[in-house]
């Protein structure tokens, strides 16, 4: 079982469902669907909390019918994989179009390893820190 680290990233990501809503207007008009979509994101990705930038970005990226299928857990395996890649990379990559990035440092792939690896382009620690044994090595 993976160790749970209450990191700054996840803490800032928000512990409440309200913080996961992509926007007030959308939440008001379709709050339950938004909450269900966020729940699907968490369940598929294996994270208890997910930064708002990711859920909101994914919600904007996917067409309405895909978002509904994901929220109602009727999505095809390929659509679920597409959502997972979107959340893990911060980039929506439709099969028939160019990819669009909406998040970088928040991407879940970096959250999955953040106790040992910094997000590339951000400072990793004091100069020479890399000689130390990583906490999870």
């Amino acid at each position: 079982m993976i160790e749970t680290h209450l990191s700054r990233r996840l803490f800032l990501g928000g512990a409440s469902a309200a913080a996961l809503m992509p926007g007030a207007a959308l939440a008001q008009s379709d709050g339950r669907k938004t909450l269900a979509f966020a729940a699907t994101c968490r369940e598929l990705a294996g994270f208890d909390t997910i930064p708002n930038a990711l859920v909101a970005g994914a919600a904007r990226a996917f067409p309405d019918e895909d978002r509904t299928a994901l929220a109602e857990k009727t999505a095809s395996p390929d659509l679920s994989k597409s959502l997972l890649k979107t959340l893990y990379t911060g980039m929506y990559s439709p099969e028939d179009g160019d990819p669009t990035r909406f998040a970088y440092a928040e991407a879940l792939m970096y959250a999955a390893v953040e106790d040992s690896l910094n997000v590339p382009s951000y400072c990793g620690g004091v100069p020479g820190y890399w000689a130390e044994k990583p906490v999870s090595a």
Binding site: M1, I2, E43, L44, A45, G46, F47, P77, S80, K81, L84, K85, Y88, T89, M91, D98, P99, T100, R101, Y104, A105, L108, M109, Y110, A112, V113, S116, L117, N118, P120, S121, Y122, C123, G124, G125, V126, P127, G128, Y129, W130, A131, E132, K133, P134, S136, A137
Partner: protein, 518 residues
């Protein structure tokens, strides 16, 4: 660096650059917001000066040979050192004597000790951190400017295993500030992003030399695509012609010219400059311009170590295996340098795990587990000069947006490299086994990977009949034209070429100043 030295000496210097001046912070922003993040994603498109892209080098380069010469480079002030890994190796003395020592390739027309002081000067200018008395590192007259960068935890584990296997494994010399401020730039804090952009300037890049030259009085003209050098009746270069993005042509005269336009664009300019006084192109009475194109044909192998080592902490490449840089085997097959890659591999791993159908905690755990264990060893193989490997202006009339011919390349990689690459892969399999990897986890790339070490196409030699420049990098055909590029190298060796370019540039700068101001 040549311009800086000349400007310091009070010469009137103009630097023409085909691309724009770029700012580090803008490049970092572009990288972070890029869709797919590649080696070129930080760098803005330059429509009037096309840059070969990572995914589609054939948008610009025209490939005609059995192997693609998929090099890519940056056309902006500072050039391709914006996205290097700061590897700052000296050639070994034997790297310059391939023909006389091993009966293959060509000798340099100068000796290692002729340029040793300039290697030292280049290391001090760029700020190189390196190990003392490391095996298969070149002999030196003074210490590295900074002590060697510490090995990452991963490198330390590799070091123990590789040493037990009998390899020499060393902290690589790197032009990156190691735990100290150097030349007003900060120490590396492990942003793990040397390629494609160091966000803080701890790593040396060529724009630094341009900025110093400007501060010393040099004039910088950007977005100026030089396409023709004019030759006078006495054989001297009298002017360079360049085009602006709107295709307006300008002409600039000078007493002396230095061509430093990389190993593809440089020879292309010479070959485009056909005229009455140079019917085959500038500096090309030997017919060697554009020929002898080399690179370091690369291999890359990945495997999963038994225990977590966490690649991706600190600079992108910290260490190397040097044992195969030299030896009698070079009469039969290529010298090599093997590197332990220290780049964060998580993106590819996450996508693959998702494609397998993993979800939830199982997915998250697999991404962690595999990322901690995914090891990559790459290798540079020494390629021999072959006149049939060449770059020339498109022979089919294919042009870029300015109407200039695109580079057409014929390239092959011979058996000398193939024999070494086969041996490299076997060695990596043995190393992987020592690190507890299963045989099934070992994967090798197919063919050869490009390494952007564009070498040989204005080759240096004593004989004007089969070389383009002399030992001072001065064109045999034109006494006031010098070429500053790895394109002058008669051998590519097995190490990165940048430090040798810099050493020869500093040496050239001194020659030019002494000649201009005796």
């Amino acid at each position: 660096m040549v311009a800086h030295r000349a400007a310091q000496a009070g010469l009137k210097v103009s630097i023409l650059c085909d691309g724009p001046q770029v700012q580090r912070e803008d490049l970092v922003d572009r990288f972070r917001s890029s869709d797919p993040q590649t080696m070129m994603s930080p760098y803005p498109p330059v429509p009037h000066a096309p840059q070969p892209q990572v995914a589609r080098t054939d948008d610009y380069l025209i490939q005609k040979g059995p192997h693609a010469y998929d090099q890519q480079y940056i056309r902006a002030v500072g050039g391709t050192t914006w996205h290097w890994a700061a590897a700052a190796w000296r050639y070994l003395p034997n790297d310059m004597k391939l023909k006389s020592r091993y009966g293959v390739g060509r000798d340099w027309p100068l000796d290692y000790w002729d340029i040793e002081p300039w290697y030292q000067a280049a290391e001090e200018e760029m700020g190189v951190a390196g190990p003392e008395d490391a095996p298969f590192d070149a002999p030196r007259s003074a210490p590295y400017p900074m002590p060697a960068a510490p090995l990452s935890y991963m490198d330390q584990v590799f070091h123990e295993k590789l040493t037990a296997l009998g390899y020499d494994h060393v902290s690589a010399p790197q032009a990156r500030n190691n735990q100290q401020v150097y030349d007003g730039r900060p120490p590396c804090c492990g942003n793990a992003n040397c390629m494609p952009i160091c966000p803080i300037g701890a790593q040396y890049s060529g724009n630094i030399a341009v900025e110093k030259a400007q501060a010393a009085g040099a004039e910088l003209i950007t977005n100026a695509v030089v396409h023709h050098l004019e030759v006078g009746d006495d054989g001297e270069i009298i002017a360079a012609r360049y085009l602006t993005p709107s295709r307006e042509e300008f002409r600039i005269e000078a007493d002396r010219f230095v061509l430093a336009a990389n190993g593809i664009e440089g020879p292309k300019i010479l070959l485009m400059s056909t005229q009455e006084n140079a019917p085959e192109g500038v500096a090309n009475s030997s017919d060697m311009v554009g020929r002898n194109l080399m690179d370091h044909p690369g291999t890359s192998s990945s495997f999963d170590s038994e225990v977590p080592l966490w690649p991706g902490r600190g600079p992108n490449v910290i260490s190397a295996i040097t044992s195969l840089r030299d030896g009698d085997f070079r009469s039969e097959h290529a010298a090599r340098k093997l590197m332990i890659l220290n780049m964060n591999p998580v993106e590819g791993i996450a996508k693959a795990a998702i494609d397998e159908g993993l979800t939830g905690t199982e997915l998250r755990e697999a991404v962690r587990h595999r990322t901690a264990r995914r090891q990559v060893i790459t290798a540079f193989h020494e390629q021999l000069p072959d006149p049939s490997n060449r770059i020339r202006p498109s022979t089919e009339g294919k042009t870029d947006r300015l109407g200039l011919p695109r580079p057409e390349i014929h390239y092959d990689v011979g058996d000398y490299v193939a024999r070494a690459a086969e041996d490299t892969r076997k060695r990596v399999e043995r190393i992987a086994e020592t690190l507890g990897a299963t045989a099934s986890s070992v994967e090798h790339n197919e063919g050869y990977l490009p390494n952007n070490h564009i070498t040989g196409a204005t080759i240096m030699g004593d004989d004007p009949r089969d070389s383009v420049v002399d030992a001072d990098c001065r064109a045999h055909d034109h006494p006031n034209l010098w070429i500053s590029s790895s394109s002058t190298f008669p051998s590519v060796s097995s190490v990165n070429v940048t430090l040798t370019i810099a050493a020869l540039a500093l040496r050239m700068g001194e020659h030019i100043v002494n000649e201009a101001r005796p």
